[in-house]
């Protein structure tokens, strides 16, 4: 009979960050194994996956009780070796039969492509689900990729993320007596820790989640999430505001509870004098509360906490729990207020000297020295970007001073922000505040950007100095190893340049940054080439992953130059639009360019020299004329006041149109001429064409649709 198969692994509290992944993995592992045995259809994906902190479960519908029986033909020795001249079976044939437990009379002849053989039919009885599970379940369990494995039964015992405490395996209403990690499967599971008696008996796989619900466990994560999504606004509304939405926090709390409920708490209004950043960090990161805000997003003196105690709401109990949460939050806020007040007894600037005691990196000295380098670099950037140098000159020395404050020691994730807030409290201008506040931004592809050219200059200088220094010190990211988050910082620089439309000569900037460090720290030429490659990779990453541009377009552009990210972006945009606008011509030019590159590369030809008098064929002359005209046109580009992108587009359209000329050249001109002078002339002409056609992008990198 086909019945639902339920497997529940009962555990001590599985960390919220990993339980959903483990449940999916477990379901996948079981599904593929069951499908391989033929007990479920290979495409059966209507499984149901459940998880809570204390359980991971999967229900497969319509699983057979037994594997079907099957026959298998086992082919043995060739017939000429199986039968003696008199037709009797040979020893070899008898041995073959014996090996498979068959009588000699069971042997029969089969014809195969290789000739006639003897064979024996073997009957395989299908195994029962219980027998198979006894092997499959431990296999599936052992195949789980555990984010952080632990042992609880000693070295010989099982490995999981927390101790397994019970095992529930039901096929329909029947217990399948399989073993796992020293546990024997039964029908027992456990209800909610606080709201139900501990042991409950599941009647059948069909009633699993409904029985658990009666014992205050909501096994389906989607349902817990939906509960939270409706309860949060309702409770926040009753408290006179709305909760500050936070999807990551929501799914964390979904997986930290078996029966989530929401309660609102409040705190004294005067804590709102503390910076909102600090209040929210305490509530969200330290206490897992949702901050309460008004319709304009201003913080209100309240919060929403998610408890694991829904069920019958009893006012008295809720009052006690609320009181507890409010008490803890108050203590945390008091700590923060103490730091906020203590820190401000000293002006930020007076802490600059203290930075000599704060190490930046072992070989790169302290933060005082870094501040000096940052200042030099930030001024250099500010001049290029027409930013206010006075703002930079005041903000940069203050920028790292918050590292010595108690508040940043307590809330390290708020570095920079705290410094900005202290600067503001000391009466510095908003421009100075912003430059300090946003110096570490952007931290991700979505995070906020430095809001001004001054803030961008300080932020880019800080990151550039760090990256250059680390490359000099040999701390270069490799594979998954990037302990100083240099990739993230380079991404931050590139995003700032592109989205704030700032031009930068990276090569020059890198040299400028390295000049801030003492000679002898590391080989500058090596570091420079490493930096160029590193930034090119980051730029490629940004253009592809964030910009969504085609890989070959990006490569075609960056091969020409990746030195100014903003310029590279404009060229990528121009190529993308030209590819759409003049697809056929573009493809022809790309094909021709690949051909030129192949020839020039094969010959290792670099000189772009040619002589007009040696042009013999019409197509040769046409190409030379076309390139010559283009060169003359280039001369006038100084007074071309069109935006770069338009110039790039017309350049590309010209190159695309030249594809035809090149095609004619290749059909009528023999590059490999017998006269060496002619050959050299033609190679020189092609090398020059390659150079002229690749001012914006290298067409030979373009991948052609038809291969």
């Amino acid at each position: 009979m086909n019945h639902d198969l339920l497997i529940e692994l009962g555990s001590e509290e599985i960390p919220a960050r990993m339980v959903s992944g483990l449940a999916q993995q477990f379901a996948d592992q079981m599904e593929s194994r069951l499908a391989a045995t033929g007990l479920i259809a290979a495409a059966a994906t209507n499984r149901r996956v459940f998880w809570t902190p204390r359980r991971v479960a999967v229900v497969f519908p319509a699983v057979a009780q037994n594997q079907p029986d099957r026959d298998e033909e086992q082919v043995g020795p060739p017939a000429r070796l199986a039968f003696a001249a008199d037709g009797a079976l040979t020893v070899q044939a008898k041995n073959f039969a014996a090996k498979f437990g068959a009588a000699p009379t069971d042997l029969y002849r089969v014809s195969t492509l290789k000739g006639e053989y003897v064979a024996v039919r073997r009957h395989h009885r299908g195994q029962s689900l219980a027998q198979l599970l006894d092997t499959l379940l431990p296999e599936a369990f052992a195949a789980l990729d555990l984010p952080k494995a632990m042992q609880w039964q000693g070295r010989a015992g099982a490995k999981f993320v927390r101790p397994l405490r019970w095992l529930l395996v039901l096929h329909g209403a029947e217990i399948l007596p399989v073993r796992l990690a020293g546990l024997m499967a039964g029908r027992q599971t456990r209800g909610h820790r606080g709201l139900s008696q501990s042991q409950i008996s599941i009647e059948s796989a069909m009633t699993y989640d409904e029985q658990l619900r009666l014992h205050f466990v909501i096994a389906a994560p989607q349902e817990r999430e939906a509960t939270l999504q409706s309860a949060l606004p309702a409770v926040a509304g009753c408290a006179g505001g709305r909760h500050r939405s936070d999807p990551n926090l929501l799914s964390l709390l979904r997986d930290l509870t078996e029966n989530p409920g929401v309660l609102a708490g409040s705190f004294a209004k005067d804590y709102l004098e503390l910076p909102g950043e600090v209040l929210v960090t305490v509530m969200r990161d330290h206490q897992k509360y949702f901050a309460l805000e008004d319709a304009e997003g201003r913080l209100l003196p309240g919060f929403c906490a998610v408890t694991d105690l829904a069920g019958e709401p009893r006012a008295e109990r809720e009052a006690i729990i609320r009181h507890g949460h409010e008490r803890v939050l108050r203590a945390r806020f008091n700590d923060a207020r103490f730091f906020w007040q203590t820190d401000r007894k000293r002006p930020l600037f007076s802490r600059l000297e203290d930075l000599k005691q704060v190490t930046f990196q072992a070989r790169l000295g302290n933060y005082h020295a870094k501040t000096e380098r940052n200042l030099r670099l930030a001024k250099w950037l500010a001049e290029q970007w027409h930013a206010d140098v006075t703002t930079i000159a005041i903000a940069t020395p203050l920028a790292k001073c918050d590292l010595t404050t108690e508040l940043v020691k307590e809330f390290t994730e708020l570095q920079g922000k705290i410094g900005g807030l202290y600067a503001e409290a000391e009466g510095h201008s908003p421009a100075i505040r912003d430059a300090i506040y946003f110096q570490y931004e952007p931290l991700s592809t979505e995070g906020p950007l430095p809001p001004s050219a001054e803030a961008a200059a300080l932020g880019v200088a800080d990151k550039l100095d760090t990256i250059a220094g680390m490359f000099l010190a040999g701390e270069i990211p490799t594979g998954s190893r990037d302990p100083f988050a240099l990739r993230r910082q380079a991404n931050g620089i590139i995003r700032t340049l592109l989205e704030r439309t700032l031009t930068l000569d990276l090569n020059q900037a890198q040299q400028e940054a390295m000049a801030g460090y003492a000679e002898g720290l590391g080989d500058r030429a090596t570091a420079l080439s490493g930096l160029q490659q590193f930034f090119q990779e980051r730029l490629e990453f940004y253009l592809r992953e964030v910009g969504g541009y085609a890989l070959d377009t990006v490569r075609a552009v960056l091969t020409v130059s990746a030195n100014d990210p903003l310029d590279a972006l404009r060229r990528v945009q121009a190529v993308t639009s030209t590819r759409q606008q003049a697809a056929t011509e573009f493809a022809a030019a790309a094909a021709a360019m690949k051909r030129i590159r192949n020839i020039v590369r094969k010959e290792n030809w670099t000189a772009c020299e040619w002589n007009k008098d040696l042009l013999q064929e019409a197509a040769e002359g046409e190409l030379a004329h076309c390139l010559e005209l283009h060169r003359l046109g280039q001369g006038g580009s100084d007074i071309d006041d069109r935006p770069e992108i338009d110039r790039y587009k017309s350049e590309l359209l010209w190159a695309a149109d030249t594809g035809e000329v090149l095609e004619r050249f290749f059909t009528t001109v023999r590059v490999n001429a017998e006269d060496p002078r002619l050959r050299a002339n033609r190679l020189g002409l092609l090398a020059w064409a390659a150079q002229e056609l690749s001012r914006v992008a290298d067409f030979s990198e373009i991948v052609l649709a038809d291969g």
């Binding site: 509290e13 609880w152 000693g154 820790r193 408890t307 006690i320 008490r327 803890v328």
Partner: protein
Amino acid sequence: MPTHPAAPTYQQLMLQLQAFWAEQGCILQLPFDLEVGAGTMAPETFLRVLGPQPYRVAYLQPSRRPADGRYGENPNRLYKHTQFQVILKPPPDNVQELYLSSLRAIGIAWEQHDIKFEEDNWESPTLGAWGVGWQVMLDGLEITQFTYFQQCGGVDLDPIAAELTYGLERIAAFLQDVESIYDIVWTRTPEGHPVTYGDVRLQDELQMSVYNFELADVERLWQHFELYEAECAALLRATRSDAPSGGRVSLLGAYELCLKCSHLFNLLDARGAISVTERVGVIQRVRALAVGIARAWTAAHIPADVPA
């Protein structure tokens, strides 16, 4: 002053926890009589979790963290707080239920509260030790660290030990519903007047903050560190069978010296005398001693004093 007249005094809390765990077959040990940063560092945990012998022990442990001192001004932070430490080796299957029962024994009807076991993996770089577990949250307050020890002194543990560490001041402040640790009622006089935590301990916090942050002589602290380190290393060398001492063993002696180093490191840290760069190096030095001791202890198969 406490609004919960039924709540246990601090002293009753200590007694109730000890009584509960004594009932569960734990040896009640005395607090270790040297400076330690946590109950884990006492030899009753660090050395007993090594090796194959089953062991159950519980003890109070004053735990010194010089950098956390606040001159008695901060209502939530202490230089020296008190841990109640339980080691269950190997952990029984119902270890979580036992723990929850212990809460009931000190007057916490946990079913009436919002209780969560939130992931918190413990690691001590100085001891070469780590484990996985939770911080137990009661209405948003962390009341206990619950850890399954996996490795100690760089040695894989077999069997595993469960470690429960209760933060006594926090629990008492919660039960008595006071806003400041210093207002916790420690006990009552025969006349029924409250004796507070502040009455008993405030001077300690104040004076030790002065020492830790201001008066401790950095140069001499370094000298002490180096002396203890050298003696510890010498003892470790002497345990080798080819040593002139003939392999006379005093790993407990070595471990005490190692703990001295660890505390001196904390003092130097509180004095701001260790830069971030140096930090890693000094931690490595203490760790090397701890790892050496744990290895030698395991290799020596030191038998349990108590029948298994």
